[in-house]
């Protein structure tokens, strides 16, 4: 039984904001360890709210979230930070914090009462910087890097936090084709036996290419979860996005989605 405990389990999650907006409705799913998971859905469908509930940035209205079978609700913020890290869509670091210093801040949850980080922390950060190809930039201020480089630094920071679950919110929104692929390559290379990555992203073709699983959301509810090639169909796209799209496979067998036009009011083409 023990090895069947899912890494993440979301049970009957509901989130209603103070202004009455019902962002997530009865969300239920489980994720195994070691997967790259895409979270897909239109703007405002509750993806970001869901992620913020998972790392306790927002309190749930009802339901429960379990990581390794343990509810995050009674945990302290530091305990959650050791289990879940997060890569924001964009970030500005003030006052010329360097790349090295930014990534080192990922070790903050482990520092406790120490004034300086340890040699082990430094080695981990050095290796991570090399892994993400930003080692040569380590003494530059973060805000003098290109968006692609900044995104890699932010992922590196989330990585040295040594989480079980990494939440990545629209990592490629500012990036061109090449950098999009690059970020996804880095993310899929990072997935290990014991770490799962949950990525919210609009580019469905990109998600289908890299993700092991995808979760499709609409208006706060999960409408489908499973392997991208099985789940993503023209009917699903039509239902979720209210557009007509063709879903095909290229010569390498990769799935692609080509949006064509708005679906008319009756739901037919």
């Amino acid at each position: 039984m023990d090895d069947e405990v899912p890494l993440l389990e979301v049970r009957h999650l509901d989130k209603i904001y103070d202004n009455g907006y019902h962002a997530d409705r009865d969300v239920n799913f489980t994720l195994p360890a070691g997967k790259l998971v895409g979270l897909i859905g239109p703007n405002g469908c509750g993806k970001t709210t869901l992620m913020r509930c998972i790392n306790k940035m927002h309190m749930l209205t009802s339901g429960d979230i379990l990581i390794d079978g343990q509810s995050v609700i009674p945990m302290t913020p530091t305990e959650v930070a050791k289990l879940v890290s997060n890569v924001p869509a964009d970030m500005t670091a003030s006052f010329g914090l360097t790349v090295f210093e930014t990534v080192m801040l990922g070790r903050y949850p482990y520092l406790q009462n120490m004034w300086w980080e340890t040699e082990e922390d430094e080695t981990l950060v050095e290796e991570t910087l090399k892994k993400f190809g930003v080692h040569h930039l380590q003494d530059r201020p973060l805000n003098m890097l290109s968006s692609g480089e900044q995104q890699r630094v932010l992922i590196a920071k989330a990585y040295v936090q040594e989480p079980r679950l990494m939440l990545v919110d629209e990592p490629t929104s500012h990036l061109d084709m090449k950098f999009k692929l690059e970020v996804m390559e880095y993310l899929s290379a990072m997935v290990k036996k014991d770490m799962t990555i949950l990525v919210a992203e609009h580019d469905i073709s990109l998600m289908a290419r890299y993700c092991d699983l995808c979760i499709i959301m609409k208006k706060g509810e999960v409408v489908a979860i499973g392997e991208p090639k099985k789940v993503i169909t023209p009917e699903l796209i039509s239902e979720v996005y209210e557009v007509t799209a063709s879903v095909g496979f290229d010569q390498d067998g990769e799935l692609y989605v080509l949006p064509k036009r708005f679906r008319d009011k009756k739901g037919s083409i």
Partner: protein
Amino acid sequence: MSEQNDARPSVLRRIVDGNSDTHIMRKKHRMKFLLTLGVLLTIIMFIAMLCIGPTKIFNPIEAISYLFSAIGKDASEMTPEEVMIISSRMPRAVAALSVGIGLSVAGAAYQAVIRNPLVDPYIMGVSSGAGTLAIAVIAFDFTLFGLLSSYSIYLVAISAIIGGLFAFLLTMTLANRAGSTTNAYVLSGVVIGLVFGAAQTIMIVFSGNKVSDVLLWLFGSFANITWEKAVFILIPVLILCFMIMRYAKELNLILLGESQARQMGLNVKRFNIIILTIASVITAFCVAFCGIIGFVGLVVPHLCRMLFGGDHRLMIPAAIGLGGVLMMAADLAARMIIPGNELPVGAITTLIGVPVFAYLLFVRGKMYNG
């Protein structure tokens, strides 16, 4: 630090960083360097403050021997030189040192929490609130509804502290109502500052023959400092600065933005309130006896960032080391530029501060909000 990415001259880099292989060793080396530099400069400047004055200039050995010969003596037995050193120049040096340290650390803390390089210790309206009550006391003999005797040396100071903290509380209340964002803090501070500024202007108009006393306080000066006052600034300022230093790691974390800091395990709302409160109390104590001295709290943190990098574990100790030294230097200049006529130290710090700040803007402007 690889050379092409470092704006500092190579000699400076070698002195500050040493030949360290790892980042942590380099930071530890910087720490040793800045502690040595801070202590040395502080001692040198402190002795200079004892030696130099408009009435008489001693050489350092004379000054120190007067200092030691005066220790243990009763005030009535002291020679005029001993009196000058021990009860005039020394408290003045202590006060300048404390206020310099306090304003620099408070400025550094405010800049990090509000994440804006243009913020100074007066941003939360503390100085305006302090000024308003201080003027009420100086010009209208306001005695806090009879709580203090109108002859108490602490009357102006305590009123100023109360006024400053009252303005700070108003700012915090307004900012919390407005959602506790950094913009809410800055805008609330500005608005509250304007209200108290307007109150000051009206009081000054009606202050009659007390107007010069009022202006003297507002300009900022270390002229009337006694030992009691100096100690009353030194002790709270040092304690509160070390409290801020304990939060150095969290000040680094908050630079990533509030939501990142929160998801790394920091209780951001509580942290903001703690730091802003400590920094405001420091500011209130600094303003209380010596009036409003501008620019130190704005420029010293930037200077420390240029020399030692943005890590607050280095920057806050650096601000303690350099802030006091620079304030003592400015006070020395204020006394000595026109012999016999003491200039307001606030004017001197601003005159020195503006070119430094302009230089920072030219050279380092891009480094901040890129």
